[in-house]
Symmetry: C2
Subunit: 395 residues, 2 copies
């Protein structure tokens, strides 16, 4: 029997209600009331969750596809962009843009640190001729477990006049996201993390300013074309059928029904409660990890509420810890990425998660440490106990 705990930073385990919604029989993707209601509900919920009045688009793709869509819809080959890099996903954003012939400028900071706002400010001030067309940033950097503060960054970008493009894949639905207030022009998220649906859908929030860039962008595109994609949601904007652009693309119906259900569950819990739950279990997990003498990559002030990256001692290492967790405890955590591959593990606590999940992970970690003689068996329960204590001590 395999009663698995899946604690990677997405995909997360799904609530039973969402799994059941997946099993909804197919309907026609045009003209069926149940399907258009699902789309309407998704748009409305996504706008609430992202705190935006902007249009929401939906693609059948992973989050990476959503990232690519932002590049090909807002830029032309040879355009200059500034990418804020404080981990692997920032680097990937730059890599994808580079593939499409974009000139990349970088504002980098060390792994485990938040985005370097001074470096960004400097680059933007230096840019007298407004060559920088867009600033790209990651809201929640999953490779290091760092949550970037987008409020000040967004203001800087807005003052400069560039587009602000944000990968919010591992934050939206689990961490507060304020697209309009933070001047976000294109926000990208995906179904399988905070939104508690299976992987396979990306959601894009597009500002008026971004739509102007879409009209001018010269990158070749078809599948990702926002002008085509908005056709799917025309009805939700009151556009009559006859004026809608053709939508030649069959949407991912099963996942859309699942997302409709998962967003309803988030609303039922209340977004403020959802965010508090993530903050609380993250804080408790961090306390538990430290109580076991292990090191956290991200500092207190900017630790992610959705993923925690832990540095293990050389006597245990990441791969061995993951093996013990998997084989002896049926707990799956993710390996560290790039420079954290050897000693790091990434613990996901995003979506359908509560205290019991991080107690389970801490229990597994304690077991791995004890097995390697790094803690005494009498210390089993120490990390979990501390986590529990922090959890019940309030916010």
């Amino acid at each position: 029997m395999l009663k698995q705990n899946l604690n990677i930073p997405g995909p997360s385990e799904l609530p039973l209600e969402v799994l059941h919604a997946l099993g909804t029989q197919m309907v026609a993707n045009r003209g069926d009331g149940r399907f258009s209601r699902a789309l309407e509900e998704i748009v409305k919920s996504a706008q609430e969750i992202m705190n935006t009045k902007n249009e929401i688009l939906l693609f059948t793709s992973s989050g990476t596809g959503g990232m690519e869509s932002a590049i090909v819809n807002t830029l032309s080959p040879g355009d200059n962009i500034l990418v804020c890099i404080n981990g692997e996903f920032g680097s990937r954003f730059a890599l994808i843009a580079e593939k499409f012939g974009v000139e990349i400028h970088r504002a980098e900071s060390g792994w485990g640190k938040p985005i370097n706002l001074d470096a960004v400010q400097e680059k933007l001030i230096e840019d007298h001729n407004k060559k920088i067309k867009a600033v790209f940033a990651i809201h929640n950097e999953t490779s290091t477990g760092v949550l970037n503060d987008l409020e000040e960054l967004g203001s800087m970008v807005s003052r400069h006049g560039a587009l602000f493009v944000v990968d919010a894949v591992s934050s939206v639905g689990a961490v507060e996201f304020r697209a309009d207030q933070w001047h976000v022009d294109v926000a990208i998220t995906a179904s399988q993390k905070g939104l508690m649906a299976p992987p396979g859908l990306s959601l894009i929030c597009v500002s008026e300013k971004a739509w102007k860039a879409v009209a001018e962008a010269k990158m070749p595109r078809y599948y990702w074309d926002y002008r085509l994609a908005r056709g799917l949601f025309g009805k939700t904007r009151g556009v009559p059928d006859s004026q809608l652009p053709g939508i030649p693309i069959t949407p991912s119906i099963a996942l859309i029904f699942a997302l409709q259900k998962s967003l309803a569950l988030l609303k039922e819990e209340g977004l403020a409660n959802v965010y508090r739950r993530h903050r609380k279990i993250s804080k408790a997990l961090r306390a538990g990890v430290k109580a076991l003498g292990l090191q956290l990559i991200a500092g207190e002030g900017f630790a992610s509420p959705t993923v925690t990256v832990v540095l293990l001692p050389d006597e245990l290492k990441g791969e061995e810890a993951r093996q013990i967790l998997r084989e002896k405890y049926n707990i799956v955590v993710a390996p560290g990425q790039k420079k954290l591959h050897q000693n790091g593990i990434r613990i996901g606590h995003i979506g359908y998660m509560d205290l019991k999940d991080i107690i389970a992970v801490l229990t597994g970690l304690e077991g791995a440490l004890a097995e390697k003689g790094l803690i005494d068996k009498s210390a089993l329960g120490t990390g979990a106990g501390v986590a529990h204590r922090i959890y019940i001590s309030g916010e």
Copy 2:
């Protein structure tokens, strides 16, 4: 209560077993045995179904995404291709390629006719300097219900030396497809038609010759990059984990489990039986439609086994017929496309379908005709009866 019959040319209704498989709890997309087994089974089954030894790739996208992937992976901007057009999907293939800066040559034939092989031959013979890099064709043209014969076309293309790129979205799994024998270099199909899974996955079959083109193609790409996508299936080719390219893209896990199950169901029935079933119900439906005095778009010799396009009289028209079928019989058929929009309807009979489905559609059509006084009420059952008779009269 809505006991719906969904008779559009995909998505089709799904077998209950597939709906249940969709509800499988999430697993890690790396390192989980259940998930890698699902991928292995899918590759093996897809190779059997497509009669190929070539590699199979999987994308989280609609079939249109798969079409785009073939363009950006095998071509460079300014390349010349020949597109065989005998309906809307051929035109779309040309449209997408055009968006990416490809020079399009066309071999056209009228709607309802198969691909014009003479026109293709002529264009290929004229091409002394081998400027034509690839020939694009649609196997089953869903807009008109025409199945193109790819054997001779494939030989022509092979003699010329161009790549042969085939949209097999609405054929694979329901109609025999012989990728290797027909010299198909890139075949594109999707999950939601003959393969009886929900929409959201495209499957691509890539020949050795196509891989060479992939290495030389200069179109910018990341999400669609076949070199990246093959990483997902590295294990199935015996490539050790350590030598696999990174796969930064989260696959559509729920749909992959569904596809694993639906392919198992196809194998259980036996592919020859599946194809015979589609041929038989298609033939029966056509006979029934004709018995009702209605016109078929596709001629007998090349009628599609998966979709039938019917031309309705001006006294009924497509939209009204669809409304009567939907509102009075809970049967959904698709509208005609482009020049067939006014009077055409498209009846899908692909995937999880048997005689009873087309009897239902014919019953609805009879009802619509009777309601408009186009047939007498005493003629109810005529079309269905003829269809049934043809069906039991053997292959």
